[in-house]
């Protein structure tokens, strides 16, 4: 299946599927092959919304933790954020999230959707299966702190939640990890939530975005 080029594809062609793919299909989204699965490329041909919600669940990510995690990341050429609840980009485009003293999640570069390694490459660390336990949503555009304030009790405005910050908190009454992506023009929040609750949170976010002109979108919104 690796041979399939970046053409319009169907999610059910692949063994790995986003927990949200049916929602996208029902809304008329177009998919492209990405990381051995179908990634939403665009959400119909609507005009560019002020804020966009993009499902990145099929893109690769992995987690490691344990006493050796910091050394292992450095050895693999990945950045290590200085403190818990910070995120940092690596040279190859991956984003490293530091969630605890010794817990790190690595998000694949957004354009390719892939990581340079996975947790099995870190034999002396404990794996965290965040590819499957969590859905990965990207909120991008204008007024993101206002949108999130309808769902979340933590202040996410730029002055107190600058680029590179992470908040592990409750969003619409479910646990979520919100990362303010570093080194990117504009505001981008990556929201990682329980994959089983992805459809629920997706609907909550769309509802919250509506008054700010926010809509569902695909990866084409970014590139």
């Amino acid at each position: 299946m690796e041979e399939i080029t970046k053409n319009i594809v169907k999610p059910e062609t692949y063994l790995a599927r986003s927990p949200l793919y049916r929602v996208h299909e029902a809304a008329g989204a177009h998919f492209e092959a990405c990381a051995s699965a179908a990634q939403v490329a665009s959400y119909g041909d609507q005009s560019e919304p002020l804020a966009a919600l993009i499902d990145l669940s099929v893109q690769h990510r992995f987690g490691i933790r344990g006493a050796n995690a910091i050394a292992a990341l450095s050895a693999a050429g990945l950045s290590v954020p200085e403190k818990p609840n910070q995120c940092l980009n690596s040279a190859n485009g991956e984003t490293v999230l530091r969630l605890g003293k010794t817990e790190f999640w690595v998000l694949g570069a957004m354009e390719s959707g892939t990581c340079s390694a996975d947790s099995s490459a870190f034999a002396d660390c404990y794996p965290v299966y965040c590819q499957d336990s969590h859905a990965c949503l990207l909120l991008s555009g204008e007024q993101l702190p206002d949108i999130m304030a309808k769902l979340c009790g933590v202040d996410l405005s730029e002055s107190v939640f600058p680029k590179g910050s992470i908040a592990q908190t409750s969003v619409a009454r479910i646990n979520a990890i919100i990362s303010h992506l570093p080194d990117k023009e504009g505001t981008h929040f990556v929201i990682l939530c329980d994959s089983a609750a992805a459809e629920y949170l997706w609907a909550c976010l769309l509802d919250a975005m509506d008054e700010f002109g926010g809509k569902a979108a695909g990866l084409n919104y970014l590139f």
Binding site: P84, N85, L99, G100, G153, V154, A167, Q168, T169, S170, N175, A176, I177
Partner: protein, 100 residues
């Protein structure tokens, strides 16, 4: 709604936390009397004073310790449990016969 300072995540709504009971020292289950064990499991002083409690920040799964005054409900400080628990705990083999 009350707020609490999580040592890992900072000041958060109390609804993000789960109470884990008072920090109590477990008597040796293999040598203590039934009464000592029952006291440990069932009884709490419930005094108006500063109590040391377990709290969990649910979104990050992080357990920590809080010192709270039961009269004013003021949370005086919170800290990582390694302050109190730094060494590996072992349990002795059970006595052949446990006497109450």
């Amino acid at each position: 709604m009350k707020m609490m300072n999580c040592p890992l995540n900072g000041l958060r709504n109390i609804s993000e936390f789960v109470h884990g009971g008072e920090v109590k020292e477990m008597p040796d289950p293999n040598s203590c009397s039934d009464k000592e064990w029952a006291d440990y499991v069932f009884f709490s002083d419930n005094a108006i004073s500063v109590v040391t409690e377990w709290w969990l920040h649910a979104p990050s799964g992080y357990w920590f310790i809080a010192e709270r005054h039961t009269g004013s409900d003021e949370i005086l400080k919170t800290y990582d449990p390694s302050v109190l628990f730094s060494e590996r705990v072992e349990f002795s083999a059970p006595a052949t016969e446990v006497k109450a």
